[in-house]
């Protein structure tokens, strides 16, 4: 409370100090993340606009109902829940790495940073599986009067409305769905996945620097905080990707 009082009385704009009480790098990381939030926001809002402009949109519970090694079992929401929990847990390990950094605890930083990297790689592996499953999983679609087997790509969408009473190899034949679905799904989850990938690379660079005692010599682990901000942002974006593509 004494600090809060002192903060109130400080003349933040009188010069000679940061008016935001943070170092340059951290402030700029915040502004970068804010601009990145607008980029992701624009993508998701554009997706929403197209979705609102269509009379029919694929049901996510039908599209995303597979789980690795579960064959054709109908498991809606299961795999994406796993991915969500992987990302939440890796966010927690990252906070713990930052916390260890505050205490100049090199061993703790190495341990938690390594777990964060493992979580990031696990998430990317899940995403790779999901993309492969969508692209290579073919479904019977009635196109131009013929039944054709197509997967989900940026130019094809087999997830249209069911053609009443038409079956093909025991599967309901559908009409082609809105083409924009694949483009938005692969575009936005791909852009997010690219952020995860670069976050993993940043964390690996941080891990190597920690192990080489770079921060120990510098006297502080503030770089871990900045990497942490980026990593949490990736988790934050996933909250909204998860919301827009899988839940609603």
């Amino acid at each position: 409370m004494a600090t809060a009082q002192a903060q109130m009385e400080t003349k933040w704009w009188s010069g000679g100090k940061s008016p935001f009480n943070v170092e340059y790098g951290k402030l700029m990381m915040w502004y970068f993340l804010m601009s990145d939030a607008f980029t992701f926001g624009a993508f998701l809002i554009s997706y929403g606009t197209i979705r609102f402009s269509q009379n029919y949109w694929p049901d996510p519970n039908k599209v995303f109902n597979a789980f690795p090694f579960a064959g054709h079992a109908n498991l809606p929401l299961a795999f994406v829940s796993l991915m969500t929990f992987i990302l939440i847990v890796s966010s927690v390990t990252m906070v713990l790495a930052v916390h260890a950094g505050h205490h100049m605890d090199k061993k703790g930083v190495v341990k938690w940073l390594a777990w964060t990297i493992v979580g990031g790689i696990a998430f990317l592996a899940c995403q790779a599986w999901e993309w492969t499953h969508l692209i290579t999983g073919h479904h019977a679609v009635l196109m131009d009067g013929k039944i054709q087997e197509i997967g989900t790509t940026v130019s094809m969408n087999p997830w249209g409305a069911e053609v009443p009473g038409m079956l093909h190899n025991g599967e309901h034949v559908t009409k082609p769905g809105p083409v924009a679905f694949g483009g938005y799904f692969f575009g936005i989850t791909g852009f997010h996945g690219f952020h995860v990938l670069s976050g993993v690379v940043i964390n690996i660079v941080m891990l190597v620097m920690v192990m080489n005692d770079v921060f120990e010599r510098r006297g502080h682990y503030l770089m871990i905080e900045k990497a942490g901000l980026y990593w949490h942002f990736v988790d934050l974006v996933w909250v909204f990707v998860f919301l827009c593509f899988y839940l609603i």
Binding site: Y24, L27, W30, H102, L247
Partner: protein, 146 residues
């Protein structure tokens, strides 16, 4: 701190002890529980969709609840994990106030998408949109009944 790494920073945060770890664990539990509630609501919607005469209004309400829960998750991630809640007010405001643009951004564009659909559904035949004109066969008379 013994080594003031950045002289421009006036108040250095004292490194947190056990209570910081407790706060992290508490936030983890909150995030997990919110996610589980979201999943439960998602499954509820899934099972409602199975019956042909489900209430669209109620599904929309459940989706609204899921959106609010996601915003709560975002609040906890930014406030606790990213420590924005511990920064001084000036910094918080320069991050949060620009994000208010999203309010207009979301409302305007979703409204636009909806209006696009309504226009196509109601005037699609009499006032064809440009893309529909392109797919119509050239020989067809304008305004002809399909």
């Amino acid at each position: 701190m013994e080594h003031p790494a950045h002289p421009e920073v006036t108040f250095h945060h004292a490194p947190g002890g056990d209570e910081t770890v407790k706060r992290i664990i508490k936030t983890t539990v909150i995030l997990s529980v919110i996610t589980l509630i979201e999943l439960a609501l998602g499954f509820w919607i899934y099972f409602m969709h199975k019956s042909p005469d489900y209430s669209h209004g109620f599904v929309l309400f459940l989706k609204g609840v899921i959106v609010i829960l996601s915003l709560a998750k975002a609040f906890y991630i930014v406030g606790v994990f990213m420590h924005l809640g511990d920064e001084i007010r000036n910094l918080i405001m320069t991050i949060v106030v620009p994000l208010l643009l999203f309010v207009w951004f979301i409302a305007a564009f979703l409204w636009d998408g909806d209006s696009w659909r309504t226009l196509r559904n109601t005037h699609g035949k009499t006032k064809p949109a440009t893309e529909q004109q392109q797919v119509e066969p050239a020989a067809k008379k304008p305004g002809g009944v399909e």
